[in-house]
């Protein structure tokens, strides 16, 4: 257990030591989104009758930050260690692939949640979004962070170079999160794009998370939870299979 705990601690220290870049920067980015979108749209858009657009936007931005930063944490830690060669320090000790996986995923989820809390703290003053069921909020934040952390492990193992990781981030993670209903309800989309959106698992993460604040959602929160839990199991199994084989880590 000490091996796992140390690796988890190391992964937490790694981002905390550069918190200005890993926590403060994404909080500022989310704040900018909020300022711009709420300035432009707050008067003109109303998605749920009882909810101001700015309030609607806040949980979406929080969850988007959770997801993007969880992914960034595990993926960048691994690619950095691979490119610099310092990955040997975690490959030489008697750490099992399951411990390895859990340490990276938990650290990633924690970074995501820390950034999410930061975003919530700076945005909540603009339009308090309510707090219908806090347990849903917590469940979706942790599961969403864990999924993205596990996906980050996959990406970090697969990528040989920083630009490959950037491609993964820009062409997969960013579109999936941006097109998941962070800024809009999918019910405002044409029917075809509504259908397409339902294949995006990030939609369920955002929607379920938002349900925790407003008690209203596009999709039933139980369905969202099931989809998100299923996605977590799928991504975890895939990631564990790679780690067990030593794919690209143990030649």
């Amino acid at each position: 257990m000490t091996g796992f705990r140390t690796l988890l601690w190391k992964e937490l220290l790694r981002f905390w030591k550069v918190a200005f870049q890993t926590v403060a920067a994404p909080v500022v980015t989310a704040l900018l989104y909020l300022l711009i979108f709420s300035h432009v749209l707050d008067e003109h858009v109303r998605i749920y009758e009882s909810v101001r657009y700015t309030a609607f936007l806040i949980p979406g931005l929080v969850m988007m930050s959770v997801l993007q930063n969880a992914f960034a944490n595990s993926s960048s830690s691994l690619i950095q260690a691979k490119v610099t060669g310092s990955i040997v320090f975690v490959l030489l000790p008697p750490i099992s692939y399951l411990e390895f996986f859990l340490a990276y995923v938990i650290a990633a989820a924690i970074r995501g949640v820390v950034v999410g809390i930061g975003v919530l703290l700076v945005t909540v003053w603009f339009a308090p979004p309510g707090l219908a069921s806090p347990l849903w909020i917590l469940a979706f934040a942790l599961l969403g962070g864990a999924i993205m952390g596990a996906l980050g492990v996959v990406a970090g193992i697969w990528a040989d170079k920083f630009d490959q990781l950037a491609a993964f981030q820009n062409f997969l993670i960013l579109p999936l999160t941006m097109l998941s209903g962070v800024f809009y309800s999918i019910h405002t989309l044409p029917p075809f794009w509504q259908q397409v959106s339902h294949f995006n698992p990030v939609l369920y993460m955002i929607d379920g998370f938002r349900y925790g604040f407003f008690g209203i959602s596009d999709v039933s929160p139980l369905l969202s939870l099931a989809v998100v839990a299923g996605a977590f199991v799928a991504v975890s199994l895939f990631s564990l299979a790679l780690l067990k084989r030593g794919y690209k880590l143990r030649t």
């Binding site: 140390t6 030591k17 550069v18 310092s86 040997v88 000790p93």
Partner: protein, 303 residues
């Protein structure tokens, strides 16, 4: 003495390249063992297989009886590896690095031993310095320290002195020798053959993924190297035909004669006297590993 490291018929291929072609060797507990070979011979691949960084396509490796695949946790506890590449984690100080590495091996509160390693590697005053700010030689010593945090009974050093200055090299060897005296098995790869000659009791030479020589350093020197006589003849005289077979002409016009034994000295001198050739300069040098290494490699290429 038990077997510290057992390597049985290990094969490792990278695509078409056969990096290890059926390597077998046993290293006894307490040995100071040298693993020599030209670049690309398979030394680092063999170490990677032993450390679990690479997976052999065939064969078995074990550390103190623990299989490195089936019983990898136990095997890795028993092994400390100093990697060849100069790698470091830029986020941490020297002490943090060593504490983290201790934790990976299940050790908490390891500071007494960490301080001892730091003192022995002359790093005590750098304990709280970030890894990024260390010189290359210091980073190399931190790598050595990281391999030792869990007091592994078997220590593998993959070219630990590349880029380390002479003084520090001496200090490092003093420490490693002490660990060896205290019972740690040491496996060393190096391109500094005089280092291997001075330190290693037994040596394996690898070439193209095969063991081409495996014996005590003494026997290798005796078998593949001898005393060399360097001769310079007065007036640039040619060597008598009877001696030409054992001699090579150096670029400086002097002759190098390899002597199979000391009685050859008399034969050389007698032949020169008989031919009436005067000697301008004569030196005798002892056998050295570099010559033995070259001969083994030539023999390997020829076969």
């Amino acid at each position: 003495m038990g077997v510290a490291v057992s390597i049985q018929q290990v094969v490792k291929r990278f695509g078409a390249l056969c990096a290890l072609d059926g390597v077998s060797l046993d290293i006894a507990e307490g040995e100071f063992f040298g693993l020599l070979g030209p670049n690309g011979a398979g030394k680092t691949t063999l170490i990677s297989c032993l450390a679990g960084l690479a997976r052999p396509d065939a064969g078995r490796l074990s550390v103190l009886g623990r299989d490195v695949v089936a019983d990898y946790r136990a095997a890795r506890h028993l092994l400390g590896v100093v990697p060849q590449e100069l790698v470091f984690d830029p986020f941490f100080t020297v002490r943090e690095t060593l504490r983290i590495q201790s934790g990976y091996f299940g050790l908490r509160d390891n500071d007494v031993w960490i301080d001892e390693i730091l003192a022995n590697l002359d790093l005590a005053d750098k304990a709280d310095t970030n890894m990024r700010r260390l010189s290359g030689g210091m980073k190399r010593r931190v790598l050595v320290a990281q391999a030792l945090v869990h007091k592994p009974p078997v220590i593998v050093l993959d070219e630990p002195t590349a880029g380390v200055d002479v003084e520090l090299r001496q200090g490092l060897w003093q420490f490693i020798r002490r660990l060896n005296r205290e019972g740690h098995t040491i496996i060393l790869t190096t391109h500094y053959l005089e280092e291997a000659e001075a330190l290693c009791g037994r040596i394996a030479m690898l070439q193209k993924g095969r063991v081409v020589a495996l014996d005590s350093t003494e026997n290798l020197l005796r078998e593949f190297s001898g005393h060399t006589m360097s001769l310079r003849l007065a007036d640039g005289a040619a060597l008598p035909a009877t001696l030409a077979g054992m001699a090579t002409l150096g670029s400086d016009g002097g002759w190098q004669l390899s002597l199979p034994d000391f009685s050859a000295v008399e034969r050389v001198l007698a032949a020169l006297r008989k031919a009436g050739i005067a000697i301008e300069d004569l030196r005798l040098s002892p056998p050295d590993l570099e010559e033995a290494f070259m001969r083994v490699m030539q023999k390997g290429r020829a076969s």
